[in-house]
Symmetry: C2
Subunit: 512 residues, 2 copies
């Protein structure tokens, strides 16, 4: 058995059975091993950013890591942006990155680069395999690293001779340590603060954004008057009718500072102390008032759901009835506005949909109203590196073939990893993509104003995607995904509803 | 004057007047400065890989650096693959990469990443600006670094406060050191070897691949019987009718080893000792026979053209008449083959075309025959990171608006940076793109055989781009570039010739 075969066997033994792949020359033995060892589902991406983003979406929904198969240095480089998003989402992922043979690397052949150096910035665990005999064990350790709470990116770099040499040994799965329990003292201290009567904000993140801990958070809020917010960017939130809703820390810095004004205590449960996405001249970096006290109840790597329940119990907070949010009146009508789209999504999204949200500027008002949609999961771009949405939707659809994925995508961001549509067509994934075509980098116009600059001709030109107009229906068609353009809400509603009734991917280019 | 304005003024003062840009939030002051300071041509790319590849193509043809404007960590990450190619091409480039404000970085906001760490692997020079007052000087030093022979990538990272703070100072251009002269002793030693009568191979690279030094190389060969080869991957070769032709070190390792067998001396002029692109079990890494002696006449950073002339003169090699290669008989006919396409290119390419060659497997036979085409420049993917061709063509067209660019592109590689077509449409660039649609990663099938593996169903599936078929004409149309599909050489010839007569970009999807 060669190293590559031991790698595939060991990944399977550790429960990793899905591999998003964009292989190159140095990974040929891995590819050959995938042929010989049955059981690994391989999903091809035409660009590494698709591969890493899809592996992120897969893990967020599957609750276990996928493997990726990436080519040496520049191949990994192409995947870094979505690995960055995955790192911010605490995503479990096992990257298998090919590299020059150990003895060929010193020759500095053209494709040789700093594979390990580039991996470090996005990975919680990095190892370069040194012998075929160790590759199986390396893989098992990588999976354990990936699955250690709160989840992290593990990158195993495989010089080609470690794959083709004989002597591979299959490693069994390693036990994954349970997440640490939150400090009871921290829970007691938070309960004390919550009973003080002073204004308290609880910020919730990571795995505390599932149905049960969110319900417990609402118990706490109802019993104490504390306010609740999810972090601004979240890997996955369980929400919709029959579940408790949560607002998020707003993105625009002024809105966020206003939302947090008056707060005397910030309690963090699986969340970090909220900071502005960027610095702006004369504006604060931390969003809470400077005199607010910060209390950490549970860090993301701890058992945050248990900590939430323990805090609610410590407070003696009574159970609440299941919320009975009514649905919305019906889909939005007439002109295309963010509010109308929100209304339509709330009315039309099917049960247990998965929303991949990279709608950026246009989409900010989609979140609140869709708390009245049928129960669903909402996945966000967590690291701010655009080009995440279409791959995320792709991977989520692979993980959950029985659920519809709704991919809400800004036009500028869509163009970063548009190749994901081809994988959706190839794998016949049930994804409805909605492109919000405002034909500009709208977020940048806002940011330009935020830094106090008035855009002139050059600046406007650099934020303009309308010369030439991008025809997403044609682009999607070129990759095997059917689509149509909508210019009114009625057209949108018809297309959206029809897309849910048909298997496979569909794209709506929505003029906004 | 703020730091950003001093940056733009200083780049212009140093002769950098073209900026390929994909700005993000942290670069808004740079964008605003581009508004206020006239003289910088800004070319927008929809993805950072387009931006860095276009800057590479620009510099190869303009002979001076362009600036790039890139977003912090993941934005730079998206550009790394083509920066890797640029590094291998010794390309002059000045990257301006925005980053978190100096005082915001410690807050580790979601988009914060290892910008400087990622830049190091591709840059000969990296600096993170620390104060607005220094940014102008930083820019001047960056341009000097980029222009220092043989050319390198200089990356200036600009925390946003160094851009928006006042106190910017415009820096004047710094003198660029002339390339060092080759060691006369090395030239004399090489002449001695060349007179020995033993089998000698001269490998030529870098700026020795211009018309004059290639002609001098042929003087040497004619006088001594030495063989000549260009390196396998070259930034730019001047060639075509009326110029001396050069073969290249072959890519397939067996072919290369055979081509170099029997050689007793390898003389390097602007080139490195040839190595295999990858290691293969049981095959050599160095391509020359193990007993061949290696003689370095001039390294790429030295004045290689002068070294070549000096060596020819030292040998007393007589001038040769201008080669009188006849043109080919006419364009290829009938079925689409690599040979027929080569024939058509040789017959139809206009004078002074610029060829951006990322044709990979299908294209290997295009090079020899096109030595009979009208005089042209041939640009290659130098670092093996696919996704270089369309951006390279885009940048070359910006640099040389009076020349036709012929972009020869493999289908798999095209999908990495397909967004470049939009920039071609926006800037109305005279680029004819030919997509060689074999609907597979053909190179990988060859590599799989090279490593001794027989592809099974899974492997074949991972190299198959035909499910679904990619319709490049529709994709191009979606980005504003007209195109058509050709399935015979007659159709190809008509479309290719017609594309040359019309301004702006055109794409031919050639079934192969």
């Amino acid at each position: 058995m060669n190293g590559a075969e031991s790698l595939v066997h060991s990944l399977l033994a550790s429960g990793v059975d899905t591999c998003f792949a964009n292989p190159g020359t140095s990974e040929m033995h891995f590819v050959a091993a995938l042929d010989r060892v049955p059981g690994m589902r391989c999903v091809l991406g035409l660009f590494e950013g698709v591969v890493t983003g899809a592996a992120d979406g897969y893990a967020r929904m599957a609750g276990k890591p996928a493997a990726t198969l990436l080519h040496c240095a520049p191949g990994l480089g192409n995947g870094l942006a979505n690995l960055h998003n995955g790192r911010r989402a605490n995503t479990m992922m096992v990257n298998c990155v090919g590299d020059q043979a150990t003895y060929h690397r010193p020759l500095d052949a053209p494709l040789t680069g700093d594979t390990e150096g580039w991996a470090r910035g996005v990975s919680g665990w990095v190892r370069t395999a040194s012998h075929a005999r160790d590759v199986g064990q390396d893989a098992a350790v990588a999976v354990r690293a990936a699955m250690t709470a709160p989840g992290q990116i593990a990158t195993l770099i495989l010089p080609s001779d470690t794959c083709w040499d004989d002597g591979g040994v299959v490693a069994q799965a390693l036990p994954v340590p349970a997440p640490a329990t939150a400090d009871p003292g921290a829970i007691a201290a938070a309960a004390h603060v919550l009973r003080s009567g002073e204004p308290v904000l609880i910020v919730i993140g990571a795995s505390a954004l599932r149905e049960k801990p969110i319900a417990d958070a609402h118990r706490i809020a109802a019993a104490t008057g504390a306010r609740l917010l999810a972090e601004g960017s979240n890997a996955r939130i369980e929400r919709g009718r029959g579940r408790f809703a949560l607002d998020r820390v707003p993105y625009p810095v002024d809105t966020a500072v206003k939302a947090l004004s008056g707060v005397k205590h910030v309690i963090l449960i699986g969340a970090r102390n909220p900071v502005a996405f960027f610095a702006y001249p004369g504006k604060p970096g931390y969003l809470a008032p400077p005199d607010a006290a910060i209390h950490v109840v549970a860090r993301p790597e701890q058992d945050v759901a248990a900590a939430m329940a323990a805090l609610a119990d410590e407070l003696g907070a009574p159970m609440l009835p299941t919320p009975n949010l009514t649905g919305v009146d019906g889909p939005g009508r007439g002109a295309v506005t963010s509010e109308a789209v929100a209304q339509s999504l709330a009315a039309l999204m099917p049960e247990h949909a998965i929303v991949a949200d990279e709608s950026v500027t246009f989409g900010r008002s989609l979140f609140p109203v869709t708390s009245r949609a049928a129960p669903h999961d909402w996945l966000q771009i967590t690291g701010g590196a655009i080009g995440c949405g279409l791959p995320l939707a792709t991977g989520a659809a692979v993980a959950c073939p029985d659920r519809r994925v709704v991919s809400l995508e800004a036009d500028g961001s869509a163009m970063y990893t548009i190749q994901a549509l081809w994988t959706q067509a190839r794998e016949k994934l049930d994804v409805t993509t909605v492109i919000f075509s405002n034909r500009k980098y709208a977020i940048l116009l806002g940011e330009l104003a935020n830094v106090g600059a008035n855009p002139g001709r050059v600046a406007l030109d650099m934020m303009d995607l309308g010369n030439p107009d991008i025809d997403f229906v044609r682009i999607a068609g070129g990759m095997g995904v059917e689509g149509a353009r909508a210019e009114t809400m009625e057209q949108f509603n018809d297309l959206f509803a029809a897309s849910l009734r048909r298997p496979g991917p569909f794209l709506i280019d929505l003029a906004t």
